[in-house]
Symmetry: none
Subunit: 203 residues, 4 copies
Amino acid sequence: MNFLMAKLTNQQRKENKRQSILENAKRVFQRKGFLDVTMADIITETQISRGGIYLYFKSVDEIFIEVLKQRNSHSLDNINDEVEHNTPFEDVFNEYLQNQKDRLLNHIEDSLLRAVYEFYFTHKSPTSRQFQQEQFAMIKQTILTMLKLGVSQSKLDDQQLIPLSEQLMFLIEGLSVLSLTGGLTEQQVDQQFALINQRIPRV
Amino acid sequence: MNFLMAKLTNQQRKENKRQSILENAKRVFQRKGFLDVTMADIITETQISRGGIYLYFKSVDEIFIEVLKQRNSHSLDNINDEVEHNTPFEDVFNEYLQNQKDRLLNHIEDSLLRAVYEFYFTHKSPTSRQFQQEQFAMIKQTILTMLKLGVSQSKLDDQQLIPLSEQLMFLIEGLSVLSLTGGLTEQQVDQQFALINQRIPRV
Amino acid sequence: MNFLMAKLTNQQRKENKRQSILENAKRVFQRKGFLDVTMADIITETQISRGGIYLYFKSVDEIFIEVLKQRNSHSLDNINDEVEHNTPFEDVFNEYLQNQKDRLLNHIEDSLLRAVYEFYFTHKSPTSRQFQQEQFAMIKQTILTMLKLGVSQSKLDDQQLIPLSEQLMFLIEGLSVLSLTGGLTEQQVDQQFALINQRIPRV
Amino acid sequence: MNFLMAKLTNQQRKENKRQSILENAKRVFQRKGFLDVTMADIITETQISRGGIYLYFKSVDEIFIEVLKQRNSHSLDNINDEVEHNTPFEDVFNEYLQNQKDRLLNHIEDSLLRAVYEFYFTHKSPTSRQFQQEQFAMIKQTILTMLKLGVSQSKLDDQQLIPLSEQLMFLIEGLSVLSLTGGLTEQQVDQQFALINQRIPRV
DNA sequence: TATGAATGAGCATTCATTCAT
DNA sequence: AATGAATGAATGCTCATTCAT
């Protein structure tokens, strides 16, 4: 029993270190984007040895993908929680838009957005493509789940749910692109979200 | 006078060479995006000497910015032509959407789109920011000019023209992002453009 | 007594593990030569821990030397057996040549030959030199023992036995070098062995 | 004409630098063999910049192959000269053996032999194989040319010339292998060359 | 004006060896 | 006795920029 416990502890210790690397690396990506980040940056931030990091990850790419995976599952998890609690659709939807607005206007510089785009546009291998498409699929799914909540609460028609979800996704991507160039105002975000709100086919 | 003529000829020769560099460089950017392009690539394509290119441009960045400037004035010019000829709004608008659809689905790989994004997301200096914002302003202006043509032909209401222009711009940016990851279908583009068309406040 | 038995058993266990390491390592050397082999390779093949292997051997060099020592004693043992049984010289000699031919033409890639050469030519320390010379001495002794068998059976003159032994050794080394570059044909081996056979001073 | 002369001078200057690199690199290979040599070693010896060397050669391999190519053509050239001057066969042959003996006994440590073997046994790609076989073919051709000179001077039978050439080649390779382990005496070389001399089928 | 040879800082990655547990 | 996580020195290679001619 001691033996088993010791072994578990070792595995846990390793997993903890892995998590620690990911958290430190995430800060680096937020600060510098993706392309400027070298293994040396992550090593410095993590306080680990040059060779040590390769015991956990094969490359900067691999670290970044892991950071993204952990991040994007959160959002969908949250929405699923709301669905389970049958939170009123308007509350869920407004909170979602509010979060996006906040992200677009205030947290761009310390978010992973720049890093994500730098990664996307420089990785064209089939594997990378698939990963990127999965990430977008997750965003679409998040929005669709929200809209279906509205339908199940008889607040929305169930017409054109998919094109609508996609439109919101495309719109948010477009806004994100603009926000990174620094050319996005609060008024613009409000106007766009208002237009979208009008479009939602309320019963 | 001979002296002045000779000087003019030299200036012309210099301008021709500058243009030649830009045309060759453009092909390189279309092929390789922005980040992968080295001075060596441009030198090879241009058939100029390594030192020589620095007589015309200080860096790859400068060359790329110049390529973009020359490109983007075209689109607005075309729309302005249509306005002068008072071409029916529906024709102009449909052609615009058709061009965008074609670009998104067929010409992504040999367009400058990837290069543009790679450039945008890796350049945060005030100068670059301003340039990027000018580029987006030009796109918005193009769309707005089109919509105003519809108003002047009494085909459209003149309400919310700016938010609508911006929405189309954001949507196209979002679609562009997705198209670069290879995850964009013709059906999706058609659906999004149909949704936008419904929104245009026809009289 | 219990204590002594336990100690013996431990020594045996240790010796078994040592042998196991050598057998596994030998396969690695056959597959990869010498220079490409890292401790990690041997660890993987041996299913032992990284630190554990250092309890038995100080380095890859030491492991390889031990593998070689065990291998080369075999050949001489076989010839000595034949001498004891007074097997006819022609049979012994022809079998020896046949074995060498087979090794040169068919088993180069899964033999230790490449590894041996890679080791020899990269180790110039006095210790290594001495080891290498012992190895060659053993080969020469093997051949010489064979020829002396022929003399004792009154099949051969006892003139120039040492230069002849050495010539066969040098020739085989030369053939081995060529075989590793892939440039050795069966015809060449046959011709060389035929020439040598003509030279053997039969009574 | 001035223009052409200037251009020639540039090409010559570049060729001179290339030669200078090869000469310096050769010394490094003689001193350290092949495997221990890093680009840094060659850079230090050549007094060139880190990047500069890559303007002339892509890798250590490429430098080494070039060094070998320049070396091995010499030997065949010399023999061809002797053939043209119809130098007596015995003189040519004895001088050849004397040179080999000298090389084997005295100049091993500052010759390229160790480097050559280190290179051969660690390069198994088809391209490398072909190169190695060409090198051996050149050695065989050198010896064969010599023997044919003897035939043309009616000093030798023309029987078995190819197997004989090959035997001398194999023997010299075998002697070379032993010489690198430090286990080769003058007596051994003399004995082997004497045995070979007996074998040459003099008329 | 134009050339292109030369520079050297910067980065990813491997691996033998150690040592706390 | 055995483990395996951690270390960090070492190396090949690229590329923007300079400068002598």
